[in-house]
Symmetry: C2
């Protein structure tokens, strides 16, 4: 690291403007610019500065915050900004594949500005783009330049109205028809509608659609990804047989157009199956190099690990912004003091420190974790693309699945709670919209539930760890993993024998002490869970029952009836007293007999109206929102 003195004229880290914070800043025990250089590296700092300066100097990026605009205006503005980011070409295609830290920095910079914009950009380039790149084959690479030139605009359509976490039960179908060599994409009912899909609401022209693949004779080969055109790129009108629209206002990220789609026997060429893990011959035979349906499915969903790793990074960015706002406020906001005349900054109070400093520490720790996990993911993706079928590659995939599952839950919850603490620690000023803590909380919130509900994901990691323990205990296999994150567990009997022997406060200040305590705790919880699960299984319960030994809850609905107001007052489609619309999240008056039939949805126009309106809207705004 170059000493700070030699860089004093270097504008990559300008001095902060003078003001009341100068006093607090001057008391630091270290030069912050040196830490910044060490933490980010000069290349990354310069890259970030380039992006920040471009946005600050471009009138299109002038505030006010999107949350003050109507949803329609905000979505339109986000798309125009997204186009402009492509024009800036901060990270050309070649560089993007070669420099993962810069990809992460670009995510961070756009996200620090506005997650609606950043998500829109990355759903198109990374989620849609890399689904084609990594789930498809050479015949699909023709789409890549079109992605970067915005000739097409993409989305990733996995989730359905009635199924998010339970991907195996998804209902969209793709029947192969050998007479025309086409797949027929179809949504059998409303619950099978693709839902929540980012970019699908108004702007996407193409979607990677996950559907159950059927070959002639009716055999199902499980969920596969297909590339489906959903709108005309010039007019943004839906393609024939596609019913598509926006799902309506969300708690946050309203600049992003999340959408729904139903397909009525939409025919696509055989070649538009993304065929990395399985293909269909012109005659209709299914061919694959992966025998097991489960393994094939896992491979085709490899990109979900990538999404979870991204969410770790997104959450960290939100936490960094929130603690920056709250700590700067606390260092200058004065309340009370030792005498009536003299007031002290609230940061001087231990209470305020206890509230905020742990989240500052978490921001640093999670920032480091996020960066290293992102690099590990890069290694995994390289292996997938290189068709690495080694045991190590498979182990790495499982380890990153476990790390990204737990990491996503840890990071998103820490950010959510941290933002709330920051908002409360700023009192009324934190409740003013212009101070942004509300937007940060609302934009961060979905990180807790999408790409897998946090609780479900923690169970995924728990299953991974229990599996390692079972293999050690039953087969004598050593507990180890490519990234070595679980290796310490192999010594779990020894670790459980450890006792804390510190005798003075100094003993506790050694960082190895809490680390050892943490290792003990992980081993203890793991062994207890393993023993309890084994016991349940021995008692004859099925796996499903063993994990869901029910109790207590039959009175819950009646207890709710006592305290709930009438439906008009409760005003929540999923909370209605009859439960009618709960099954789909919408008030479906009658099932769809055919696409285009009028399905009433609560709070949304009918589907027919939606299609007309969305098409009309796309048409009216075609000058500003068409893709070419």
């Amino acid at each position: 690291m170059v000493p700070l003195g030699e860089r004093s004229n270097d504008p990559v880290l300008p001095d902060p403007p003078q003001g009341p914070l100068h006093v607090a800043r001057a008391r630091a025990s270290f030069p912050w610019k040196e830490l910044a250089l060490f933490w980010e590296g000069e290349d990354t700092l310069r890259f970030k500065k380039t992006i920040f300066s471009a946005l600050e100097n471009d009138p299109l990026f002038a505030h006010p915050r999107g949350s003050r605009l109507s949803v329609e205006k905000y979505q339109e503005l986000s798309f125009l900004r997204c186009k402009r980011v492509f024009e800036y070409d901060f990270l050309p295609l070649g560089d993007m594949l070669g420099s993962l830290p810069k990809v992460l920095a670009l995510v961070e910079c756009l996200g620090m500005y506005d997650w609606s914009l950043a998500t829109k950009f990355f759903l198109h380039v990374l989620t849609f783009g890399s689904a084609i790149y990594s789930s498809g084959s050479e015949r699909h690479f023709k789409y890549l330049p079109k992605i970067f030139s915005l000739e097409i605009f993409g989305c990733f359509a996995l989730t359905e109205v009635s199924h998010g976490s339970n991907t195996k039960s998804m209902r969209t179908t793709a029947h192969y028809d050998p007479t025309t060599q086409e797949f027929i994409i179809h949504s059998p009912d409303f619950e099978a509608a693709k839902f929540w899909v980012g970019n699908m609401g108004k702007t996407a022209t193409h979607a990677v659609v996950f559907a159950q693949l059927y070959t002639p004779g009716g055999r199902c080969h499980g969920l596969h990804p297909f590339l489906v055109q959903i709108r005309d790129p010039k007019t943004l009108l839906p393609m024939p047989g596609v019913m598509v629209g926006d799902i309506g206002k969300k708690l946050g990220q309203n600049g992003l157009d999340n959408g729904f789609a139903m397909f009525h026997k939409v025919r696509i060429p055989r070649q538009d199956l993304l065929n990395r893990s399985g293909d269909v011959t012109p005659e209709g035979a299914y061919v694959t190099h992966v025998k097991d349906v489960g393994q094939r499915f896992s491979e085709s969903l490899g990109s979900l690990s990538a999404n979870r790793v991204a969410i770790v990074g997104i959450s960290v960015v939100n936490l960094k912004l929130a603690v920056s706002i709250a700590l700067r406020f606390s260092a200058t906001r004065r309340q009370f003091g030792p005498t009536d005349k003299e007031e002290v900054p609230v940061l001087e109070y231990p209470l305020q420190q206890w509230r905020l400093l742990p989240y500052l520490a978490a921001a640093y720790a999670l920032d480091h974790f996020s960066k290293s996990l992102f690099l590990d993911l890069g290694e995994l993706q390289q292996g997938l693309l290189g068709k690495d079928r080694s045991v190590r590659q498979a182990e790495l995939g499982r380890e990153i699945h476990a790390l990204s599952s737990a990491g996503k839950a840890l990071a998103s919850w820490t950010a959510q709670r941290g933002i709330q603490e920051c908002r409360e620690a700023c009192g009324g000023h934190g409740y003013l919209a212009m101070n942004r803590l509300g937007d940060l909380r609302d934009d961060n919130d979905p990180n807790c539930t999408y790409e897998g509900d946090n609780n479900v994901l923690l169970q995924q990691t728990s299953n991974y760890l229990l599996g390692l323990l079972a293999r050690r205990d039953q087969g004598g296999a050593r507990i180890e993993s490519p990234l070595k994150t679980v290796d310490f567990l192999d010594a779990y009997p020894d670790i459980l024998g450890r006792r804390f022997e510190g005798s003075s406060p100094e003993d506790l200040l050694d960082s190895s002490v809490p680390l050892a305590a943490y290792e003990w705790l992980v081993c203890y919880l793991l062994r207890e869970s393993y023993q309890r699960l084994s016991q349940e299984k021995r008692s004859g319960r099925s796996d499903f029952e063993a994990r869901n030994n029910c109790q207590l809850k039959d009175d819950a609905v009646a207890l709710v009836d006592v305290i709930a107001p009438p439906d008009f007052i409760l005003d929540s489609p999923i909370g209605r007293a009859d439960g009618e619309e709960v099954s789909s999240g919408f008030w479906v008056k009658r099932p769809p007999s055919s696409p285009g039939s009028s399905i009433r949805t609560s709070g949304l126009p009918s589907f027919r109206e939606t299609r007309c309106w969305r098409g009309h809207h796309g048409g009216r705004n075609s000058r500003s929102t068409s893709l070419s």
Copy 2:
């Protein structure tokens, strides 16, 4: 209680509509209508039904939710609805004083519909109205009929830009001028501006303003309440010398117009001092029946306990709505299951039960606590109005201060966390705005910080308990209180000697066991805190230092500099790198030389612009928003 069978034709509790929830409802172990009758009483149930039906059948109350409207539209609609609620006259003035359960039911009904409306209504009637009634005297009662006829519309102006919790440091002044027998209300600088005042933003014509009272000669007698007219009731234009406007968008409750005001030597008649605890003679002599400034101040702020009790009730309502939505959703939403074909409602999963059922239990427990605390408050208020100066009355005031402080923190945090858990437990459906969990969270959020930050309030309760312990240990006084909530602490040495002696799971199911454990914990924590505080004091530190033994935190601002983006990207006035505007929450370019001078505020028009614009706005909309 009348058996349910005899009431089957009684429409006060109609059967819920048939639908998917019927299955879950039928499994309950008790008849929910009987519990509802027992829980609320038939009178209250009928009263609530009357209100709910009136709103449901009145087109003015048709949804959509306010959060989908512009702030201006939403505020206008809330005022019109508020007027309509007065027209319905659900609870005439006479009944309001005599039937506290109905007052609570009215709060609950309006709040279940929309807190912006409910808060607007009650800030006018209860906070403003009872401040005049309980802090004033006979000469002010002429205002009461005008409050109910909406001839005037009121707000309660205590908080200032720079001081919320620290009321003693507030800076608005009221100098008495004996030559004209007037008080001169004045804001010496921007930090003294009244801020956050509900109803002040656009609609209030009168304010109860707290100001430091000075008599000729310059002697300050502390904070007193004054009735100040701030707008013309016909045009809603500000009165001369009053600079008033809306503080801008908040995270929630945007149908309520929170405002700011600065006063430039505004003269009001001597009689408009609300003189219950202190008065000024025409000649300028200060007279009071209360010797101590602190006690006088406490008495004048008696209404703050009422506000905190109200917040307990508000929080409970939000929690009841959230668990109603989430549990009904969970009882019909199906995901996964023992076989691939069969899926089960997510409420069947222990995980979902662990997430939601504790909050259902909390809703019931806090609902009961809220109701009983409200009745206790009524007893306190009766004593205040009857000028009860007994020891018991003073003790009751202290006890209710302690109960409402801790209760407000407990209820608002439980609701905030409960709503977040409900939102996450509903997955993506919880993130859709139309399902209301976002509005509930945003509307509940300020309960955690206004009327005293929760952490500060917990210290108030802690101080009360420590004081009781000190009196017992030093003077031998018995620990007891009018409502008997602390009486058990008198036996704290015995309680601390208790040991848990259960030996079977059944022993734990007895509800006296956790109650005994809780008593032990309270005693333990109290004794430990007391001993530590005594030790700190003996070591020679002042009270202030003893409670704020600082550590760790000087590096915080520099650590933030490393992770914070440039100000344009961070986009938060209170988070700016120079800290300049943090001191006031606004970007004040130069201090006001005189009222009406142009003070730039970040995100708001200049004050001069604000005044003109607000006045103009009020004028333009005078047909729809004027008060007569």
